[in-house]
Symmetry: C2
Subunit: 363 residues, 2 copies
């Protein structure tokens, strides 16, 4: 039903005519049309909670670049906000909750939120699907239970999340209870996104990499497994933990179709070791996009080569695009990935001719 | 010649009566006697550049805790300071250079500094060795060529070292030249520390983990290899890159006797895979020291068990002790490691009796 289903096929490790590419934070502050819309809306939350504005923002990068997927414009903290914790974004600062969830009482009081409180997200998914009209798939997403817990415990972002890391040693059973409630809430949230039309799902585990490998397995990977096991069959899933290279073998067994890698992970080694079990997504350093077209093309070619020709690879940055990124550099990147992946899949053909023809490698 | 040479033996993967333990930043702001001395000296640099004050600070933690090594009190940025870049530490901020080294001209102008400009460090090493009187070994150290380059390029610390990461893509040959000069300077610096009496050496690569694995090998690991190849035989070396779990197989081949692991690395897997080729050092989350004696003991026992009984293990934190750490918690940790390692090496003996007897496992 999709005109371009390369993302879904790559996530299922099926052959694709080219390497699909999308970019974390592809809709965002580096685009002047985003900045303009946000200024009109007044705030980030005003944008994110208005389904038609969220849809408009989601579609903005697709109007500029031939990306192979759209991703819902939203925030990872919508779920704890719906739990009643009072999310706000002060200008020039990060997110902040009105209340911290950092002790027995506040953690025991948490419950899975009524989906009606997140209806603006599901409405946005429906509106985006209508606007996409089958061009490319839409990725729904949520923050991981542990990453949500990080913000809930500290009440805001933190340079080192010291309270969370202390709790992992001093009150492990309490932290486990918190991520358990979050897992139930996130599972329900993602199921609703699928009902509204999301074609694939991603778990953003921004802070799981702060933990030791044994703590990561217990407090971050275990609740993500719980969620992944409850996702509807046929909807491919991506799990992305930043900074968890040491836990890659365990993440490969999480139940996700695809493992997202940050830019410090070894894509080539991961594909060689685990490429027959899961798809991989990643992992260009987003700061490469602050250079120039020639450097970006060189980096893209190197990364596509490192991924190798086997099915099951999705090109992405290894962390979100930064606001200072020139949009023309994103255009250069998307073009370079598509061109390099055509060449890579037709090693004997003339490179220029290769770009004009779509050929699957054997699957 | 040393009363307690467990560290040196562990670095050489020889059997030891207990797991040796020392702690990154064991001399530092968490100790009231350090804070008092620094207040009297007036500044961090006044402490670090006065050999007898540096010696006094180095010895402070050994007066409190039965640590198995001393580490020179100094800063990783002494080398670029000696290159004439004008290092200073503003109160409440990090280090800062008077000049940035971020273009062709400034990088080409760099030369290996005259060792006389670093004589205060070598004098401190001599004074510490005299004061130690053979009780435990003294670890000398330097910042890695890439980590020095990070501060030299930015002119100071940075949340993301964006200029450095951009340079790795846009001007790779220029960055390579910079880390090359740094490697020559650091090699000479460490050779002089050995001449002054250092018993072991450590390279602190705080920021190598910011790079992709291929960039890490080129800009951080390659110059560290150059240094390690020039170290005098018989002086064991430790290389510590924070956040480079994906590059562990390459680090194991660096030529260092021991690989330091940060707290997000998998000590158990590293020992199983590479424990017959190098020693490992690490890797407790330093924030575990902000909890309580029981939690600290549990964490220490778990980590010593994860390391396993084979020779070649040095207990340490996975990053520096933080200023808020209660000294009593450090005492609890050192005691717990020594006790757990006695028990671990006598699995059939009564645990209490085991603590009183020193027994080597077969080597």
């Amino acid at each position: 039903m999709l005109a371009n289903d390369t993302l879904l096929r790559a996530l299922r490790r099926e052959p694709t005519p080219h390497v699909p590419v999308w970019l974390m934070r592809q809709a965002g502050r580096y685009l002047p049309e985003y900045t303009a819309l946000r200024a009109r809306a007044g705030s980030f939350m005003a944008l994110a909670t208005d389904p038609s504005l969220a849809a408009e923002v989601t579609l903005q990068p697709l109007a500029r670049f031939p990306l192979d997927a759209a991703i819902l414009f939203s925030d990872i903290l919508t779920v704890p906000d719906a739990m009643g914790l009072g999310l706000s974004f002060a200008e020039g600062e990060g997110p902040r909750f009105a209340r911290r969830t950092d002790d027995e009482r506040s953690i025991n009081a948490l419950t899975v939120p009524d989906p009606a409180r997140l209806r603006y997200v599901f409405d946005a998914v429906r509106e985006i699907k209508r606007a996409l009209a089958g061009r490319v798939p839409l990725i729904g997403f949520a923050g991981s239970p542990f990453t949500l817990a990080c913000y809930m415990i500290e009440g805001r972002g933190s340079a080192d999340f010291a309270k969370v890391r202390r709790m992992a040693f001093a009150r492990p059973e309490l932290l486990e209870r918190l991520v358990g409630v979050n897992a139930d809430a996130v599972a329900q949230y993602l199921q609703e996104q699928v009902r509204a039309g999301a074609d694939a799902l991603m778990l953003f585990d921004t802070w799981g990499g702060l933990l030791s490998p044994s703590a990561y397995r217990r407090f971050s990977l275990a609740p993500m497994r719980t969620i992944l096991a409850r996702m509807p069959p046929g909807v491919p899933t991506i799990v992305f933990t930043k900074g968890a290279a040491a836990s890659l073998p365990a993440i490969v067994d999480s139940g996700a179709a695809c493992v997202g890698l940050d830019w410090t992970a070894d894509l080539s080694a991961a594909r060689r070791q685990f490429g027959e079990r899961v798809a991989f997504q990643g992992n260009l350093d987003p700061l490469a996009l602050l250079t120039d077209a020639a450097s970006i093309e060189r980096a893209a070619v190197e990364l596509v080569a490192a991924a190798g020709p086997a099915p099951g690879y999705v090109f992405n940055v290894g962390h979100g695009i930064v606001p200072a990124t020139p949009p023309d550099n994103v255009a250069a990147l998307v073009q370079a990935v598509h061109a390099a992946s055509h060449r890579g899949r037709r090693p004997t053909a003339d490179a220029a001719a290769g770009e004009a023809v779509e050929v699957d490698e054997g699957g």
